[in-house]
Symmetry: C2
Subunit: 342 residues, 2 copies
């Protein structure tokens, strides 16, 4: 008998909420025999959505009733102090108490991070958790962290991100020695700020597979597996990528709509355009991992639809299967040992 | 009689050098009756290239002989100290001495910035110059600065960038009150680091048309004219944009090459694809302005071809016509006055 994986889903989270989270849960459970989901949120609403999706509560889709919801713009501190029965908080509590092995939420990122840190604590050796996601590359995909949890990062923190990213990719993509690069504004040793140069020394001295400084363009080439940066740079990179892609798609649409002839050629090119769309579909890259916590928390994009949310649940499922936090924890022991002797 | 604009061109600069710079010079001069270019570099090589381009030395295309060239990877300090007769240095000297009103170079960015700062000095009130360029947006284009000259920036420096960017756009795009945004990782006041939050206060208190925090996605929307950030974030944004565009172009090519049917549809869609290519052609956005110096210096991309370099010369020409440094200088008086009373 395969071991069951149980994931707690913040069923009230996200811009849309239960009408997205419930169908996504039902769909994902149908795809995996070893998966159970706990829908955390308002019982009545969730039950209605389950009926809507043609499903009923059962062994593998359970409802856990909560009375509160964290608003998408609510200050994290307020959510943490005032919303102890929120769907988000209770979903994370389940991970802490062993009722679930991971939590997925499309809710308020700041509140999710603050609550996860408070409830699950950071692993020994980690100053602050990081947010990590994949980005499509010409060959395969690239993991980037941090994406916004840590605005100012010390060299030591960047080094911790490198360790965590490396472990994640090694586990989830079955890559024995993931190539780690440090995001910088040039590849020469003298480039960048003190933190980046300091991190380069730390990572170089470690047993990580460090390939040196990389630039924004390198994120997309597939020659690096893990790109490490502070949360400011990572967030700027992620959102610039989103903006650039949308702009090109917009221009392409405009050019195909110029005349009846271009419209016709657009019709003819539709299969290709759809293939491109599928290939860079952000829903396929949804699900950002909070790394460095004593449990698995995956953040789904706030505007996720059911397809995107399913991807995020899959990310969490894989991290449970590969025991990512335990692997990070054991990898960190070397780091802690070195610190103790330093 | 129109006043003549004279621009000094570092004719040896760039990955390719004279075989690009000379034809670009000849072309640009042919387009503007009021433009003269001084080709700075090895006389013999440049004369041969002029002949190749079917042109001869004359009033409007002159050659100024120099004996040295700055290498693309040469450390800036070494170029500054050891290459006093380089094409780059002499071109900048011309701006200082009044022999030219602007300098354009596709050479080593670090050396160009160091030399320009040393020779032309920064304007009173400016701590360090910034690099600024335009990026295509859904509506029009957006100016972003700094793009890599300043890795760590204080709130005060970011404020100076806002002033300079605003003046540039006001002058060059004839926009009376350019909308200025500060690049951040969220739009809420609490987001970002101390420098960004501090800069927000300074800009808000100024008479700039400040619209608040913007994110990476906003660079492309056309709802902000000037995006202000430190050189690390700006460089990451610029290179991520380049990488994302190239990746999408690569995917599109791959999808059109899948089968004879998709190839055929690609042939049929060629006019549209070419129109898109023209629209996001990086050569159209070439020419980064060094702002905050006592003279006009425009950096052309190292890999510029003749078309790209022409764009950079046009940028310099427009800045001369609009007297950008003088405008920045007068705008800075208010800033200096405030500092004096503080």
């Amino acid at each position: 008998m395969t071991r069951m994986i149980t994931i707690a889903l913040d069923a009230m989270g996200g811009d849309i909420g239960p009408s997205v989270t419930v169908p996504a849960a039902v769909e994902t459970v149908a795809r995996h025999d070893d998966l159970a989901l706990i829908l955390v949120g308002d019982e009545q609403t969730l039950r209605a959505e389950l009926a809507q999706a043609g499903a009923t509560e059962g062994e593998r889709v359970r409802i856990l009733h909560t009375t509160q919801t964290v608003g998408m713009d609510e200050p994290p501190a307020q959510a943490l102090r005032g919303k102890k029965d929120s769907s988000m908080r209770v979903a994370i509590n389940l991970v802490k108490d062993g009722g679930a092995q991971a939590c997925v939420s499309a809710g308020n990122t700041g509140a999710l991070m603050a609550t996860a840190k408070y409830v699950l604590k950071t692993l020994p050796g980690i100053d602050r958790p990081a947010i990590c996601t994949t980005i499509p590359a010409v060959k395969g995909h690239t993991y980037v962290l941090d994406l916004g949890a840590n605005v100012d990062c010390s060299a030591e923190q960047l080094y911790q991100f490198a360790v965590m990213g490396s472990v994640l990719v090694g586990a989830v993509d079955n890559r024995p020695r993931p190539r780690v690069g440090l995001l910088n504004i040039g590849q020469e040793d003298i480039k960048g700020n003190d933190q980046v140069r300091g991190a380069a020394q730390l990572i170089e001295a470690s047993d990580l597979n460090y390939i040196g400084f990389v630039e924004g363009t390198d994120i997309f080439l597939g020659d690096v597996d893990v790109v490490v940066c502070d949360g400011f740079a990572g967030n700027v990179a992620l959102k610039t990528m989103e903006g650039a892609s949308k702009t090109i798609a917009h221009f392409l649409r405009e050019e195909f709509h110029r005349s009846w002839l271009t419209r016709l050629s657009g019709l003819f090119a539709m299969p290709v355009l759809n293939a491109l769309k599928r290939r860079i579909d952000p829903r396929k890259y949804n699900g950002a991992s909070f790394l460095g916590l004593g449990g698995i928390v995956v953040k789904s994009h706030g505007s996720s639809d059911a397809v995107a949310l399913q991807t995020a649940i899959e990310v969490a499922r894989l991290e449970v299967e590969k025991a990512v936090p335990a692997r990070i924890d054991s990898q960190l022991e070397a780091l802690l040992a070195r610190r103790a002797t330093a």
